[in-house]
Symmetry: C3
Subunit: 378 residues, 3 copies
């Protein structure tokens, strides 16, 4: 398994991580345990006791430390054993569990899998529409039995709406639409517009569009490494400027569980200024998407993975279409970053050039402006 290690990944939604019960999860092939210490801070540790490899996630949280369920050793937020109940109670200095840098943002707990010295919170891209303090957010989760890059391909090329989701998201107009893509630093963007479209009922109802009304629908996708996407979908009466329409912003965060399975975290958010209508809409979006995601996307991604097997993606010589441009750019960015990290590790030097990646993030499409138009429309 070769993952990009010096990067922020979502480990869990914030509400999953508790002060009274540990959470077990495999991230990048590593079993980890998440919990909150006495100060409510999220802690991420290897889920393997330093003594006899018992899973700490089956233990209890006692005085803000995690107690091993087998022999009762306790480990603190630094990973060091802080309590040995046996004999004279001395703690061997080697009794230490690996910890991972973690931060809490956008309603999620993020963890850094690589060199802790490089875990810079400013590298995290911005998702202002999912902020528990200012927005209503609603989230969904699916375990996808496919490589995370296949999920990224799926999200970066929404032309599949027409064929895979004909009843909920797609229409005949999508294939006829315009697509543009590009990149700025390590960020990739794809913009798609379907003109003069009759929306499927699920989308029309969400945007408050009367049945049969002709609209323009635009779908802006932003991808940043290692698999962090925002999708802005907007609808206007056909021919009207974007500013006239409503917008539905969503975040899509892909974290490899293993090299063949992916945690798919997604969330919709709308400004609290929208009141109850905003709260209803984010629930409507997430609840309504679970069925096509689970019954249409997941089986497709898993079937792709089966067909891919142990092969490298490129070894199967995929035919390239213009609509693939964005997804291919994202794959190329990941391949370069992983190769750079490997080379740096091989040279035993610090990894990559984090300032370059920081730039990439600040160079993305401004979400604030989109959000403003959403507020105006509401």
């Amino acid at each position: 398994m070769s993952f990009l290690l010096n990067a922020w990944y979502v480990a869990a939604f914030a509400h999953e991580v508790r002060v009274d019960a540990p959470l077990a999860r495999t991230l990048l092939g590593r079993p980890v345990v998440l919990y909150r210490d006495a100060s409510q801070r999220a802690i991420v540790l290897d889920d393997r006791c330093a003594h006899r490899f018992a899973p700490l996630s089956k233990g209890r949280i006692v005085d803000g430390a995690l107690e091993c369920p087998y022999h009762g050793l306790r480990f603190g937020e630094s990973g060091q054993c802080v309590h040995n109940p046996h004999g004279d109670g001395r703690v061997p200095s080697g009794a230490k569990v690996r910890t991972y840098p973690a931060i809490e943002r956008h309603g999620a707990v993020w963890f850094w899998a690589g060199d802790p010295q490089r875990a810079d919170a400013s590298l995290l891209p911005s998702f202002p529409f999912v902020d528990p303090a200012t927005t209503y957010m609603h989230d969904g989760y699916l375990l996808t039995r496919a490589h995370y890059q296949l999920s990224a391909d799926n999200l970066l090329d929404l032309s599949h709406f027409q064929f895979l989701h004909p009843d909920t998201l797609g229409s005949e107009a999508i294939a006829r639409g315009e697509v543009q893509s590009g990149s700025l630093g390590d960020t990739v963007w794809v913009r798609r517009v379907a003109h003069d479209e009759v929306l499927p009922p699920f989308v029309a109802d969400g945007f408050g569009i009367p049945p049969g009304m002709r609209v323009d629908r635009w779908m802006d996708v932003r991808w940043t490494p290692p698999g962090l996407l925002s999708i802005m979908v907007g609808v206007t009466p056909a021919g009207m400027p974007r500013e006239a329409g409503l917008i539905a912003p969503s975040a899509h965060w892909l974290t490899p569980e293993t090299d063949r399975t992916t945690h798919y975290f997604f969330a919709f958010g709308l400004p609290r200024e929208m009141g109850e209508r905003g709260r209803e809409l984010v629930r409507y979006a997430v609840d309504g998407l679970m069925k096509p995601f689970e019954q249409e996307d997941l089986p497709m991604l898993e079937a792709q993975q089966r067909n891919l097997g142990d092969s490298d993606f490129w070894a199967l010589q995929p035919a390239l279409l213009p609509l693939d441009a964005g997804a291919i750019r994202a794959r190329r960015v990941m391949e370069r970053l992983i190769a750079e990290e490997r080379a740096a590790n091989a040279a035993q030097e610090p990894v990559g050039d984090s300032s370059a990646r920081g730039e990439a993030v600040t160079g993305t499409v401004s979400v604030d402006s989109l959000r403003r138009s959403s507020c105006e429309a509401a």
Copy 2:
């Protein structure tokens, strides 16, 4: 997995392959999709879209072409993409799926896994008793979780009737019977006669033999590569010549799904001149055999496979008995053909000597004479 590639294998019974719904099946370790085009011709393609590896078998057949369920590309019988619904609709020349030569014969669709230039229909052995135009045929299918050669062993040595199928097919007389075997080119034959036998009720009823009547039962097995067998079972009152008896001809076609699992296709056929009685008898035979095949042969074959594991058959040093002669001959033919094919591929030259294999097939036991005696008896 080392299979003989330049050979005809059954891919499906003809009635499984449809003009309105694709059929997914793994053959020789390859996921393929089967369907019929507008002219009812059976098509066999890799079940993997040239674009993003989606399974075409989950798609629709539109205008005789197979439409990918993910992005809507359509592929024709040559494997070439014939329709791209996106953007300007241009089709990249590399958008091509591998196709396999296929023919329809004996109520089955046959496919050729190797060099298409060598796919010569005349190499197919003759099974005249299963011909939808002239015979009533009834077929059965089982997936066997064992190497196809273990199934061939089973069919080439019917001495197991007495021990594995004591209630339906076997009797004490079988072990006492005479067995002869030999080969002609690549064809192997085994002839077994049980003399002065009281048949088990299932067999006696099928042949119309009164309970307790003493008979001679003969069982002629013909095997041709890669695993195509016919079995002619005949019964006469004890001591009478073969011509005095009835005959039940059946075909048994083994196609590797993987190197540890086998598609077992079998069919009984009787001449349409027999009328309703012939139609009833082929159903009686297939329906009655499903239970011993499924509940007795399958568990045995799977247990053998478990005991074989990753070992080569010969590495386990099997004890050889006289009754094994036919099965061993067939194994030796397959080993030679696979070695020849590998050597030829290694030399980058055309594979094997197909004319020699053609001879082998024409040199087999004449089935027509058997069939004639069946007609006379009916």
Copy 3:
């Protein structure tokens, strides 16, 4: 899989091995079949017919020989084919199945996986408290999905009672107790005493201790290779000498099924002189322990195995605590014995020095004295 081969392992409890039905079991990664011949002697054979690898365990026992269910060959206690029902009935000399030396002792059938010349019954350690002739014994069995050495660790360090079995076996006093360990030859012993303890009800009831009474509990564990343990648990009123108390002796025998799964055989025995009370107590102990063993130990051992994965135990750099001393000694003995056996096999010379191992066994803690105190207490 690297197991110690020149050693006695429990293959089955004696009551599992029958004269009328074969028993299939995988031991040290080998599928074997156990049955009793006409003289009631337990026979252990490879569960793989010499002819076509059929599982003999699916066959019948006929005249004290095992009949293959596929073609009816029969094999005797030497593993030689003794009957061929086919043709002229001649038996090929190569038709022979591997057999393993077996002895019956302590209510169990033991088998020797290595060089039959070295299968010396005197190497078997003594478990006098489980002897069908003189004791009431009751036994239990669990399949543990973990390496057998993880089970040995578990039994050699009973400090886990307090954390893993708080409701049935543990108490707060255990961690405070004294532990000593040592070895004599290849035998390892661990002695633990919990002073001034209030027993959990399951233990108190078994020993007839009134609720709330303060006691001393001592737990003596003896381990001999490859994974044969006895555990003597005794209870006395706090401060009284050992001789004043009752004792519950038990045997714990670990046989690898594979390198990741273990047959865990255990048995309690008490002298028949105790009468009905002894019979009741051994049942009480085994029945009462099944729940904590199955619901607490097994999931823990399996979780450890998952965390261990393909790693060597030492590669994960386990932190060592004083309470691990016994388990580590046992691991070191096994590592040395396996290395010696491998070196000897590599040199194509006889394996190890069995006289040294014989000494180790005779040098163990005397169980007879423990048993005497048990009798006196009863």
